[in-house]
């Protein structure tokens, strides 16, 4: 058993500070710490180093953490999608349960009823699948974003709008298929580039997704505002092309909120609104940590 006159090791001091010391040893270490200035100073040194490490680590990492709202929404959408794709199987407690003929008969009746119900619900189901994919952010597994080799001079030689190219019908069809969308109204989605061509985005299925056009807060029109702003910022030397591409691919809604200093999409003329917001907030950005 530990003697209270014995100096605790560094490991024991840390375990005491972390509340990880075995219950029987706590009293002796505490009694020793009360009596010994040296060990109290060592303990304080350990605690101070822990505090410094935690502070430095947070200061280094926290500014790099992207906002969680976009990821949270994406996670919820992905879970809903996964649930639809693979409905949860019911677990049964005993094998004998399956052996019971009544259960088997009940299952057979249920299967027939289910088949009838499914046939009737087929159309509604297709619409439901389509609406599940009407997400404001793309599924990152299907649309991580893809770029082509471009020079800044090349993309800045023309206006952002002039770089936008129409997606061929065959590719549009592929994108809808990939997202499991069937029978969606023609004007419901815009097959849009995740990274805009004006920012070096490639015409690649990994860079295209069905974006809601009208019935969404964060519609394709809002994304256009962001792209216009990013294009001007890159060409104006305020932003690197890589940052613009990353921001758009990672979470375009979060990027919009960051650059336009707003939680909600701005109404009206995008360029004027963004410039106004940036002009008003720029001097305060560093103070407010925007």
């Amino acid at each position: 058993m530990r003697n209270e006159n014995t100096h605790p090791s560094d490991q024991e001091l840390l375990m005491r500070a972390d509340g990880e010391l075995p219950r029987g040893a706590v009293a002796a270490v505490d009694a020793h710490l009360t009596a010994c200035w040296n060990c109290r100073a060592r303990m304080a040194e350990v605690e101070a180093k822990i505090a410094e490490f935690v502070r430095v680590r947070r200061e280094g990492l926290d500014p790099t953490l992207p906002p969680s709202a976009g990821s949270r929404a994406m996670l919820a959408a992905q879970m809903a999608e996964l649930s639809k794709a693979a409905p949860r199987r019911m677990r049964w407690k005993t094998a004998s349960f399956f052996a019971d003929w009544r259960f088997t008969a009940a299952c057979a009746v249920a299967v027939v009823l289910l088949a009838v119900a499914l046939a009737g619900l087929k159309r509604e189901n297709q619409v439901a699948v389509a609406s599940a994919y009407g997400a404001e952010l793309p599924d990152r597994r299907l649309t991580p974003g893809a770029t082509r080799q471009v020079a800044i001079g090349e993309i800045c030689a023309v206006n952002h709008e002039d770089v936008v190219s129409l997606v061929p019908d065959t590719v549009r069809h592929e994108v809808f298929q990939e997202y499991g969308i069937r029978n969606a109204p023609a004007d419901k989605y815009e097959v849009d580039y995740l990274i805009a061509p004006g920012l070096g985005g490639a015409e690649d299925i990994r860079n295209l997704w069905p974006e809601p056009r009208f019935d969404a807060t964060w519609s394709s029109f809002v994304k256009d505002q962001l792209e216009e702003y990013l294009h001007e910022s890159v060409c104006g030397g305020k932003l690197s092309l890589q940052t613009a591409q990353n921001d758009e691919a990672r979470d375009w809604i979060a990027a919009y909120q960051k650059y336009f200093h707003t939680r909600e999409p701005l109404a009206g003329d995008s360029k004027a609104s963004a410039q106004r917001a940036a002009w008003i907030l720029e001097p305060w950005a560093s103070v407010l940590k925007l």
């Binding site: 990880e20 680590r57 280094g60 990492l61 992207p66 990821s71 996670l75 996964l82």
Partner: protein, 193 residues
């Protein structure tokens, strides 16, 4: 021959319902995952970033981890120590992601540039300036620690208890305690030099 006792339809339904209770309904699982996301997302992300990953890769690791958690719960698997579980998954994903990045970087970047990335993950030039020399030195010492020691330190900084760290990294409790103590002693000694 043993006779199977007769079971009424009511009993069948009751059995089905009781079997159902062991795995919560889907919306309940989704709510639970979102709750765990809210509680742990930033910690998990910081831990992933401590592997030297860029922010978007770290975010991908966190996202994949919570999706894996969803599948784990959906399949009715163990709910014991879920925080430890998600950190273990994130640890493995972050290692894999870093390996991929390093392979890609080996083709395009010099070794020197990569070393800087590892010391100073995801900081832009402005943030690098703000990061004082002393802070940089401390983080450089941490990055130079053996990988397992650094992981112990980062996990502890995210609030994991020794038994949780042991489970994440597949170590014994004693080894976790020794590792943390050794790393802190190293930080103290290096600073005094």
């Amino acid at each position: 021959m043993a006779i199977t006792p007769a079971i009424s339809i009511g009993e069948l339904a009751l059995r089905a319902a009781s079997a159902h209770e062991s795995v919560p309904e889907r919306p309940e699982i989704e709510r639970e995952v979102i709750e765990l996301f809210d509680q742990n997302r930033n910690s998990l992300l910081r831990y992933a970033l401590s592997f030297g990953l860029p922010a978007h890769d770290g975010e991908e690791v966190a996202q994949e981890t919570f999706l894996a958690l969803f599948r784990h719960l959906q399949m009715g698997k163990s709910r014991k120590n879920l925080r430890g579980w998600i950190f273990r998954v994130a640890h493995n994903l972050a290692l894999r992601k870093r390996e991929c990045n390093q392979r890609a970087a080996a083709q395009t970047e010099s070794h020197e540039n990569r070393a800087v990335e590892l010391i100073d993950p995801g900081l832009n030039p402005e943030e690098r300036v703000l990061f004082s020399q002393r802070q940089q030195r401390l983080m450089a010492i941490v990055q130079a620690l053996p990988e397992q020691d650094r992981c112990c330190l980062d996990l502890r900084a995210e609030g994991l208890r020794y038994r949780e760290i042991a489970a994440v990294l597949g170590m014994s409790l004693g080894a976790v305690s020794m590792s943390l103590s050794r790393s802190l002693a190293r930080l103290i000694v290096e600073e005094q030099r």
